[in-house]
């Protein structure tokens, strides 16, 4: 040090400014840390888990491993994936799906979001849609289900204004189209079974032994991957069938 060791003490206003500067740093630094930590609150509230994209690892690991870049969002052909906002806390920038608004219909064939993920938050161990486990479908409002009432369905599944997309292989093998552009005329509503992208994940089973009884009930099978397609296509409002995100199959 070039200064002499017997330097006179700094004047009062200098020490006062130094003290204030320290307090300001403490306060504003504390606010930054507090705001960051506040991201924990939505976690603690214990809300129902979000429906995550295919291949998402266990929720707590998923939030840690996700680098919040949205590359999965960019590759999804039906734009099913959206990123969490500030109300998701630590889940900010983390991808999820709202199945009712836009389900994953695997129209990319090769689980593109998994291939896009740079961190393995969507595990690269999956390569087929059948191996995906996002959750499980559940018949939430049996009384609302048209098939259970023996009713058919005619028209646009979700109305003319619904922007949701789906790939109809018979219409266009490569490009998803709007569900509103693909009206139905069905004697018995089987939309959830008809549009399910996974073979054998859901089936309509008779509700009585009477052959004349038209009524059928949707039955979810173990191969259900929880993609949300049945929830999106269900024509009643609110949907009779819903996805329980992260739910796992239990033999009942």
């Amino acid at each position: 040090m070039s200064q002499s060791p017997k330097r006179p003490p700094p004047p009062a206003h200098v020490t006062q400014e130094a003290r204030r500067r320290f307090l300001r740093s403490l306060l504003l630094g504390g606010m930054a840390v507090g705001a960051g930590m506040a991201g924990w609150l939505p976690m603690a509230r214990g809300a129902a888990p979000r429906l995550r994209p295919p291949g998402a690892i266990a929720e707590s690991d998923f939030l840690a491993a996700c680098i919040k870049c949205g590359q999965c969002v960019q590759v999804c052909p039906v734009e099913a994936i959206v990123l969490g906002d500030i109300d998701e806390g630590f889940g900010i920038g983390v991808p999820y799906l709202d199945g009712r608004a836009q389900a994953c219909d695997f129209s990319c064939d090769a689980v593109q979001c998994i291939l896009a993920c740079p961190t393995g938050a969507l595990t690269h161990e999956l390569s087929k849609k059948e191996e995906v486990r996002m959750g499980l479908a559940r018949l939430d409002k049996p009384d609302a289900c048209l098939a259970r009432q023996g009713l058919g369905f005619k028209g646009q599944a979700r109305g003319a204004d619904f922007p949701g997309l789906h790939r109809y292989e018979k219409v266009d093998r490569w490009n998803p189209i709007r569900i509103a552009d693909h009206p139905y005329d069905l004697d018995l509503c089987d939309l959830c079974v008809r549009e399910c992208p996974i073979e054998g994940a859901i089936a309509l089973v008779p509700m009585s032994v009477d052959a004349a009884d038209k009524r059928r009930t949707p039955e979810i099978r173990q191969s259900c991957v929880g993609c949300g397609m049945c929830e999106m296509i269900c024509p009643v409002e609110p949907a009779a069938i819903v996805i329980d995100a992260r739910a796992q199959w239990r033999a009942s």
Partner: protein
């Protein structure tokens, strides 16, 4: 200035006047000559005129703003218009197919997830080499979208301050170091990427690419603080990303060099600088050498280069003149 000194000042130590034995003979002789030469009023007027002229030069600022906008718009265009050159956001991306990962985001993920991810190793190594070559904190001023907004907030702050409507409240520069450690430790302890919750860089980058979010309120809040309370609060005293890139750029070949020969020591450069402690060397009698880099914390924004009327501060690529 040694690398250790440069890093210590970046981490919050206040720069001090060098000891007499640190001066090279040429530098001592220059300072001696400058002390002997008393300026006449005409000379001072001439200097003021030059300084005033130099203030109108915005060459580097304009180049930088163009670059910053181009990079961020490439992210947007890659997704919105399917150009596919830079997919992802500033936290992680694929640049024409190659993995890039922001060093700070990758660090958060690694600490929270406690796993070494091969794609992140590739992505961070690429980014590390790139920003070492380009000057480290040049990421801040040439790419970070928050930096641009903060520059505009700063201009407003300075206008209001000139009218004595607001006052700059400084923080201790070590705040940033403490926050860096707290955010790293909290990622490790909690298993969540805690800093990403408030990172204005990530929030802004995602909002531009994927559409506006409520998270932007954090950015707005910071900007309001910077206009009315503390000049460049976030970039100066708080952002951990700045520290990460400052370390990367500590020995970068791309730097701003200071040549005391023609310097008038008016201090205009320190007034425009985000990190004026790196320009301590420009004070009269402080330069120990006739040619030196200005330190790790420099964001290579070029504002000082634009404002300097004598060309005493300039961009250089270390060793390039020897090669040519």
């Amino acid at each position: 200035m040694s690398l250790i000194q440069s890093l210590a000042i970046m981490l919050g130590r206040e720069p001090v006047k060098p000891r007499p034995e640190e001066y090279e003979p040429e530098a001592s002789a220059l300072h001696e000559a400058k002390r002997a030469c008393k300026m006449s009023p005409e000379q001072r007027q001439e200097i003021n005129r030059q300084t005033h002229e130099a203030h109108k030069v915005h060459t580097w600022r304009n180049r930088r703003w163009l670059t910053l906008l181009a990079v961020n718009l490439l992210f947007v265009a890659s997704y919105r218009f399917d150009v596919q050159l830079i997919e992802g956001a500033l936290t992680a991306s694929r640049v024409i197919g190659f993995h890039f990962a922001d060093l700070n985001s990758a660090l958060q993920v690694t600490l929270a997830f406690k796993t070494i991810l091969i794609n992140l190793v590739i992505g961070t190594t690429t980014v590390l080499i790139l920003w070492w070559l380009l000057g480290g904190r040049s990421f801040c001023s040439w790419v970070c979208p928050y930096h641009l907004l903060a520059e505009w907030a700063e201009a407003l702050h300075l206008k209001l301050a000139a009218k004595k409507l607001v006052k700059d409240h400084q923080l201790h520069r070590r705040t940033r170091v403490v926050l860096y450690v707290i955010f790293a430790l909290s990622a490790l302890a909690s298993g969540y990427t805690v800093f990403e919750t408030i990172s204005p860089t990530g929030i802004l980058s995602r909002a531009m690419i994927y559409g506006p979010t409520w998270a932007l309120t954090i950015v707005v809040f910071l900007l309001v603080l910077e206009v009315f309370y503390s000049r460049r609060l976030w970039c100066r005293y708080m952002c951990p990303i700045g520290i990460t890139y400052a370390v990367v750029g500590a020995v970068s070949p791309v730097r701003v060099a200071y040549l005391p020969q023609d310097c008038h020591h008016e201090g205009e450069c320190r007034k425009v600088c985000l990190v004026p402690h790196v320009l301590d060397v420009t004070k009269k009698g402080f330069a120990t050498r006739m040619h030196s880099g200005i330190g790790a914390d420099c964001t290579r924004c070029g504002l000082c280069v634009d404002v300097c009327p004598t060309g005493s501060l300039k961009f250089e690529v270390k060793g390039l003149d020897k090669l040519l």
